[in-house]
């Protein structure tokens, strides 16, 4: 065989991934299982078209988030996007119902979402940014407060329990806390914003660099990162002197109000026995700008990126025409499957689809793998 061999098989587009029988069955089973847990908790499944107008998706968020969206122009000349997530579509669908008098909406979904990326498809399913992935999630619109936050985190934990996933860890934070905390320390809003961006990227070195320079120039305490990372609403209240100081400024009061929400949530989680596998890390900042309250991510060994992500977005619905508090989260199905099967889930496609030419010879091995897996529920 030589490399300039005439191409006999049709190409698979960049970033797309074929899913073979065993895998497809498992993914569908996972989706069904999650949807069943959601339904038992009062969340009904909805669905909608794959395309959204770009201005729908941009409501209530920074235009920089649009960088990795897959855009095209429809027949009428308007720009449409292959949805990168479900939350805006759900908000679009829910707003007219809320305006007509519905008090509360609890919806679930299992849909494919799309992004622009150069990562290889199979690895990005496990750990990176995938061009196509499956999100199975819920959105709960119409309820505010710590009990609702805890309910959603409990639902996420119940679903993980139903899947019998080991070793997962939930990390929680508050979208408004870090920026307000920084400003309350006398850091200008623009600088606080770029520091928050450092946190969203996980660039702690960059954060310390900016703070070091700032501290030398203005005398601001340069240990805010350490302060921020040691705060734990499950363990202790904010130090008294800090509370007094924060009460005196507008940004400080914002920080205090976010902190109180965190403390309330921590108390509810503890009371309901949900706190064991939750850790708070206030340096955790999500890269989605529509979040206004509690945010959380779930990690599991074997998947190099979060298997579930969520948070509260109380100001998004008003951008769609009706004010309403809301919270939601979604599982990343392929990452979850990778963690559940210790990577086994990816193998069938690796073996059957590695090169179209190699398919026939390797099917024997694929069968062995398939039968060996019967013992595990996945």
């Amino acid at each position: 065989m030589s490399i300039d061999m005439q191409q006999r098989w049709a190409d698979r587009p960049l970033g797309m991934r074929d899913v073979y029988p065993q895998q497809a069955r498992r993914r569908r089973q996972l989706e069904s299982k999650l949807l069943r847990v959601f339904e038992q908790n009062g969340f009904e499944m909805v669905s909608c078209g794959l395309l959204e107008y770009v201005d729908t998706l941009l409501r209530g968020r920074a235009s920089s988030e649009a960088e990795d969206w897959l855009r095209m122009v429809d027949a009428t000349g308007r720009t449409v996007v292959l949805r990168p997530e479900m939350t805006p579509s759900i908000a679009r669908m829910a707003a007219p119902l809320l305006a007509a008098g519905t008090k509360e909406i609890r919806w679930s979904y299992a849909e494919r979402v799309y992004r622009r990326t150069n990562d290889p498809a199979s690895l990005s399913w496990a750990s990176g940014k995938a061009a196509e992935s499956t999100q199975v999630g819920v959105e709960w619109i119409g309820r505010a407060g710590a009990e609702a936050d805890a309910d959603v985190m409990a639902l996420c934990q119940a679903a993980l329990g139903a899947l019998e996933l080991d070793g997962w860890q939930m990390v929680a934070s508050h979208a408004a806390f870090a920026p307000a905390f920084l400003e309350a320390h006398g850091i200008a809003p623009e600088t606080a914003e770029s520091l928050t961006l450092c946190l969203a990227r996980g660039d702690y070195v960059g954060f310390r660099g900016v703070m070091g320079a700032l501290s030398a120039a203005t005398g601001v305490a340069d240990d805010v990162l350490d302060q921020l990372s040691t705060l734990n609403p499950l363990a202790a209240d904010l130090p008294e002197p800090l509370q007094h100081r924060f009460a005196e400024s507008e940004s400080g009061r914002r920080a205090l109000s976010a902190w109180r929400e965190l403390r309330d949530l921590a108390a509810v989680l503890q009371r309901r026995g949900l706190a064991d596998r939750v850790s708070f890390d206030l340096t955790l900042v999500r890269d989605l700008t529509y979040y206004t309250g509690i945010v959380f991510e779930v990690f599991a060994p074997g998947a190099g990126a979060p298997i579930a992500l969520g948070g509260r977005y109380d100001d998004l619905l008003v951008q769609f025409g009706t004010p309403a508090p809301a919270i939601g989260f979604a599982f990343e199905a392929e990452r979850l499957l990778t963690a559940l099967t210790e990577g086994e889930w990816l193998h069938e496609a690796d073996e059957r689809g590695a090169g179209s030419a190699g398919g026939a010879e390797s099917s024997g091995r694929a069968r062995t793998t398939a039968s060996g897996e019967e013992a595990s529920p996945w």
Binding site: A126, G202, Y204, G209, F299, A300, G304, A305
Partner: protein
């Protein structure tokens, strides 16, 4: 077990001794072995597994989670654009990312730039409002300027000796580069204690050495 991807070459040469000074277990025979994977026992947190990788591959290993943490230069990290946590500036393997060229080119508009960092070079020249073409090369970048393939090079400068030997001068210093400790986002959460232990040991050693000097 914690898996560590180490950038081969200068970064590993500088960081492994620092790793030992920080009281962290490190493989003994890294220098004269041809092996790429080393495992050493560590107290409390289980064994540490070291992978010796090409620098440009370290962010890839870490972002896909096959390595939990990694040590790599800031230049490589920026060029890769990968999503990883950047935990610590190890202040080792220092150098600078520079724009250089033949002296007579200094006042002329940049047209073609040879570099190992096409992403960063493109970003840099665009931020200056200059539409220069980038020519991706994989080594001996100076050569491109010497023989006239490019009128600028965008490359790491350590001592400046190679530039001088080839009659090139630095036009602009773009970025101070040093080795960074990076972590996979999921490992940072699921193996938090072990990773925090490594980070703290290294940070303490850095503080100690800064005080001593």
């Amino acid at each position: 077990m914690v898996t560590i991807a180490l950038a081969k070459g200068r970064t590993a040469d500088d960081v492994v001794p620092m790793w030992r000074r920080a009281g962290l277990p490190a493989p003994a025979d890294l220098d004269d072995s041809r092996a790429l994977v080393f495992e050493v026992e560590a107290p409390v947190h289980g064994p540490l597994r070291f992978l010796l990788a090409k620098p440009a591959d370290v962010p890839t290993y870490v972002s896909f989670g096959v390595a939990d943490i990694g040590v790599v230069g800031k230049d490589v990290l920026l060029e890769s654009g990968r999503e990883v946590y950047e935990l610590l500036d190890l202040q080792a393997a220092r150098c600078q990312l520079c724009v250089a060229g033949r002296p007579e080119e200094r006042d002329r508009r940049p047209r073609r730039v040879a570099t190992k960092y096409p992403r960063l070079a493109d970003q840099y020249f665009r931020s200056l409002g200059v539409a220069a073409e980038t020519i991706p090369l994989s080594g001996s970048i100076e050569l491109a300027a010497v023989i006239g393939l490019a009128d600028r090079i965008f490359d790491l400068v350590q001592t400046g000796a190679t530039l001088a030997a080839n009659g090139l001068v630095v036009f602009d210093e773009v970025l101070d580069v040093s080795a960074r400790l990076i972590a996979n986002r999921s490992s940072y959460r699921t193996k938090r204690q072990a990773i925090q232990w490594v980070t703290d040991q290294l940070a303490q050693a850095l503080t100690r050495e800064a005080v001593e000097s």
